[in-house]
């Protein structure tokens, strides 16, 4: 450690730190614009100039390394003179249009400028005018205000992993822009808005929504992916106006994915459910709560009486809160049905009853950033887990080897050390090859559960490369993504991946499908013995369904089957925040409050329980789900529905013990087996990032992004030629139903496969996510 002195105050810092970091340690603020703790140092704004004794010129605090016995003055005459000069330069070409600027009130330039006073400008020449850029549906630009700090550019290069923005031209003509007016398509793009210290990049959806001082800021937790990003929700007149990151180094750091940031717009979608409704003679009628609940009690009672409790099935969204999931499963179990599931997109349930605990990430989220090696198996990493991908990107930048075994070679914007890309039916075999290679390289024996799978497998160079990469350094992890979890042979993939992790001395875990996947498992939102899982409930249709926050045609592994099952049911009780197509198959709609309007908890991928309160009151007659379920339990005469608060529900759901002790990825007595070779074209289906849950699906700005574009049938050129189809031609795809989509050459898709996104209106009719498809020219 070194000791230096800042404004007379002594501070100890590690060698190699900068004066800025030293100042921050003692809470001393040095004005700055280009400096940002998560980005590389640019030292270009020159705002942070300070005096250092014995140095002839003022030096930038952000870039000047500390040296023993350095004496720094941040407010001396020399320092302030320099800072004033820089401030004056920054303002000469600035429009000074604070009253009409969306950044007004939270503008670093404004804040610092005010501090330097200055009064009348000495600049009397003409000001530079910069044309605004079109950057897409999320980011609004006013480039005359840009101060060229280059934060947005560095963000793209370093954090998002893609240089969509750059600064073209030079000198005073230098301008932040995207290549010939392309939109910014990164799933992390909104962070550039936060990073921009002035009002050059602002939120398009928020534009002119409010002045920042009118906004009340409330903490919350993102209900989307399994990260559980911490949110600062900004509210005006009981309405959510904007969402910003709430910094949490352990989780989202200072970032948000665009989905976390912009999905709030969906809260006010046209089909937002605000009144209970009952369908009567095919017509919907708004009713009061009493009437609606009476109807539900009566219907469930009737069905139970007539067909037995087993005729009732419950599909629960893993985006629901822990409290809702707990009470929902308790209620259905109270009715004596075991048909309860939240694993809606899974296909393989053969591991049920053999788990030794609740599946989770296997290591703390923050540890992803400091791994030395990671093997990601079966994942659409970048879009399914934008900020986990970001952490792995940082690990790679620091020297980690990232490798993957996957069904598609999509671009994660992380340089990979090795990979095996194989069709879905070859994934298990590919893992077996990696396992065999590891056994070869480490001289260890493969466990009995995997021996059959490994027997006779040929170990190729690619598998060896993956194995070697995974052995890099000390901190290693094997991570299973959504494609693996939703695979028809998921349990084999898990057994093999876990064994790979064991031989490599790596942690093993699941990236996690949804905000509360871990919480749902903890809450018991799965069938126990004798119950039907999500797939079985649809395969063997029930008489009545209870839906919690689910849009089955989007959220289930086979949307077509789901819809059919619901259409035939005598009763569908829909608890949700939106109407959607429930209008067609449900007979009663119960408006429950979305995450912004209820208290609740999510347990994220790393097993962290995060509770939150409502940030606004429920819209209309909507009610927090937990309250509604509690009342319903009472009305049904079930015991144990007396909880006074969501905290009480949470306590009951989690029991006494430490949550962490429940987390375990073990499988007892499951044998890995390889898949039978597929006969036809195999479908590879991702869930597009902005279609993964009902809220995101309804966010207008997100729906205008490239990520929400109509899916195409992506096919390897060899396969495409074999089909006699040209790139860009429209094809008819047939699964259980059929759709027409544009076919696109994609060398990242294995031969014999068709990559078609699920959960999108344009491809819904295809049916199962994992299936064989036929493709022909339309």
């Amino acid at each position: 450690m070194l000791e230096i002195e800042i404004d007379g105050q002594k501070v100890e810092v590690a060698p190699g730190s900068t004066v800025m970091q030293a100042a921050q340690r003692i809470g001393k603020h040095i004005p700055h614009f280009c400096y940002h703790k998560k980005l590389s140092i640019a030292a270009n704004c020159r705002m942070c100039l300070v005096e250092v004794e014995k140095m002839p010129k003022a030096v930038p605090a952000c870039a000047t390394p500390v040296a023993a016995d350095m004496k720094v003055h941040t407010g001396s005459e020399k320092a302030v003179k320099a800072q004033r000069a820089v401030m004056e330069f920054l303002l000469i070409n600035h429009p000074l249009d604070c009253p009409i600027c969306d950044q007004g009130g939270e503008c670093q330039l404004q804040d610092i400028a005010v501090g330097y006073g200055g009064g009348e400008s000495r600049y009397r020449e003409e000001k530079r005018v910069v044309f605004n850029k079109k950057l897409g549906p999320l980011i609004n630009t006013d480039m005359t205000r840009c101060i060229h700090c280059s934060r947005c550019v560095r963000f793209g290069q370093e954090i998002a992993g893609v240089m969509e923005l750059g600064i073209a031209h030079r000198g005073e003509h230098a301008e932040v822009m995207a290549f010939v007016d392309r939109s910014v398509d990164s799933e992390l793009s909104g962070n550039a808005i936060d990073l921009c210290p002035v009002g050059a990049l602002t939120s398009k959806p928020f534009r002119f929504g409010a002045r920042t001082w009118e906004l009340v800021r409330r903490p919350s937790v993102s209900p989307h992916d399994s990260l559980g990003a911490n949110l600062q929700v900004q509210v005006k007149h009981d309405r959510v106006m904007r969402v910003l990151p709430l910094e949490n180094e352990a989780i989202n750091e200072c970032w948000l994915s665009d989905k976390d940031r912009f999905s709030y717009e969906g809260l006010y979608a046209a089909d937002r459910l605000t009144r209970p409704q009952i369908k009567h003679d095919g017509e919907w009628h708004e009713v009061d709560w009493q009437t609606a609940l009476d109807y539900v009690v009566r219907t469930l009672g009737d069905i139970r009486k007539e067909y037995g409790a087993d005729a009732i099935g419950a599909l629960l969204s893993p985006h629901s809160t822990l409290e809702e999931l707990h009470l929902a499963q308790k209620l259905v179990r109270g009715l004596r049905s075991e048909n309860i599931d939240s694993r809606l997109r899974q296909n393989d349930f053969s591991a049920d009853g053999r788990r030794t605990g609740t599946p989770w990430l296997g290591l703390p989220l923050a540890a992803l950033s400091t791994l030395d090696a990671a093997l990601v198996v079966g994942s659409f990493l970048r879009k399914d887990h934008p900020l986990m991908a970001q952490r792995l990107r940082q690990a790679q930048r620091a020297g980690a080897k990232i490798c993957r075994v996957n069904a598609v070679a999509d671009d994660w914007l992380i340089p990979l050390s090795a990979e095996v890309i194989a069709a879905p039916d070859r994934l298990a075999a590919s893992l077996a090859a990696v396992l065999a290679a590891l056994a070869e390289q480490t001289g260890q024996a493969v466990a009995a559960s995997c021996q059959a799978a490994v027997a006779g497998i040929t170990v190729d160079e690619a598998a060896r490369g993956v194995a070697a990469a995974l052995l890099n350094g000390e901190r290693r992890a094997v991570l299973l993504g959504n494609l693996a979890v939703q695979h028809p042979n998921a349990s084999s993939l898990q057994v093999l991946a876990a064994e790979i992790a064991r031989l490599a001395g790596a942690s093993f875990g699941f990236l996690g499908e949804a905000a509360n996947t871990v919480g749902a498992a903890l809450a018991g939102a799965q069938p126990s013995k004798g119950g039907r899982n999500a797939a079985a409930m649809l395969r063997e249709p029930r008489k009545a369904y209870v839906l919690l926050g689910v849009e089955p045609e989007f959220d289930c592994a086979d949307g077509v089957a789901a819809r059919a099952a619901l259409m035939q049911a005598a009763s569908v009780i829909h608890l949700g925040s939106f109407v959607g197509s429930a209008a067609e198959y449900a007979d009663v709609l119960l408006p429950i409050a979305p995450f912004t309007e209820t208290s609740g908890s999510f347990v994220n991928a790393e097993g962290r329980l995060q509770s939150f309160s409502a940030v606004v009151p429920p819209l209309g007659d909507a009610r927090p789900g937990w309250k509604l379920l509690r009342v319903l339990g009472n009305l049904l005469g079930l015991p144990g529905f007396e909880q006074e608060s969501s905290e009480a529900v949470r306590a009951e759901a989690l029991g006494e013990g430490d949550l962490a002790t429940c987390l375990d990825n073990g499988l007892d007595g499951v044998q890995a087996r390889l898949d039978a070779p597929a006969q036809g074209l195999q479908r590879i289906a991702e869930v597009p990032i902005h279609f993964a849950d009902p809220l995101a699906r309804r966010a207008p700005a997100l729906q205008k992004t490239q990520d929400a574009a109509v899916p195409q049938a992506r096919i390897h050129p060899e396969t495409l030629t074999g089909l006699g189809v040209a790139d860009g031609e429209v094809v008819r795809l047939r699964g259980s139903g059929e759709v027409k989509l544009v076919a696109r050459v994609d060398v990242g898709v294995p031969v014999g496969c068709v990559r078609v996104a699920a959960a999108h209106p344009a491809s819904l009719a295809l049916g199962p996510m994992s299936a064989e498809l036929s493709v022909e020219r339309a």
Partner: protein, 158 residues
């Protein structure tokens, strides 16, 4: 997009740098592309970027940073005159004025027949030979009296 000859030239440039530093060849590659296409259209820049495995925007930054790349179409003969102080003292500005009158265009304009584009240049490192002009970036014409300029324009008009 680019001719095999151009690609061959680019490959030769790439070979100058360490294998993981292909981007170092971008200036040469853009120069070669421009020599073939006369100017750098966005597609050309994108092609070069892809060829070198670098972000398109990074290639665009480079193309827009350096003066000798043309991001707008130019005439068959681009003539850049140095008017910086040392040259101006020995007739650089007068030569520029003469060219403007002779070609009937101002700086950054192209003659209607598309033959000539005139540009104002900065110091070319040849101040002792003022007036100096650069023809199509690569040929420096020194000590350009009015007669020399007449001769050059005549030659290039053929």
């Amino acid at each position: 997009m680019l001719s095999p000859q151009s690609l061959l030239l680019i490959d030769r440039e790439v070979a100058k740098y360490p294998a993981d530093q292909k981007q170092s060849a971008v200036m040469a590659a853009l120069r070669i592309a421009q020599a073939e296409k006369r100017w750098l259209a966005p597609e050309t820049i994108e092609f070069v970027a892809k060829y070198l495995g670098m972000p398109t925007m990074a290639a665009y930054e480079v193309a827009s940073f350096y003066n000798m790349y043309d991001l707008q179409p130019v005439g068959a003969h681009k003539i850049t005159v140095c008017t910086n102080l040392p040259c101006a003292l020995s007739g650089g500005s007068e030569a520029a004025e003469y060219l403007k009158t002779k070609l009937g265009i101002d700086f950054n304009e192209t003659t209607p027949d598309g033959r000539f584009t005139l540009k104002e240049g900065e110091c070319m490192g040849a101040c002792g030979d003022a007036p100096v002009l650069l023809h199509n970036n690569h040929k420096m014409c020194c000590r350009m009296t009015r007669e020399e300029i007449d001769g050059l324009i005549e030659e290039l008009s053929k």
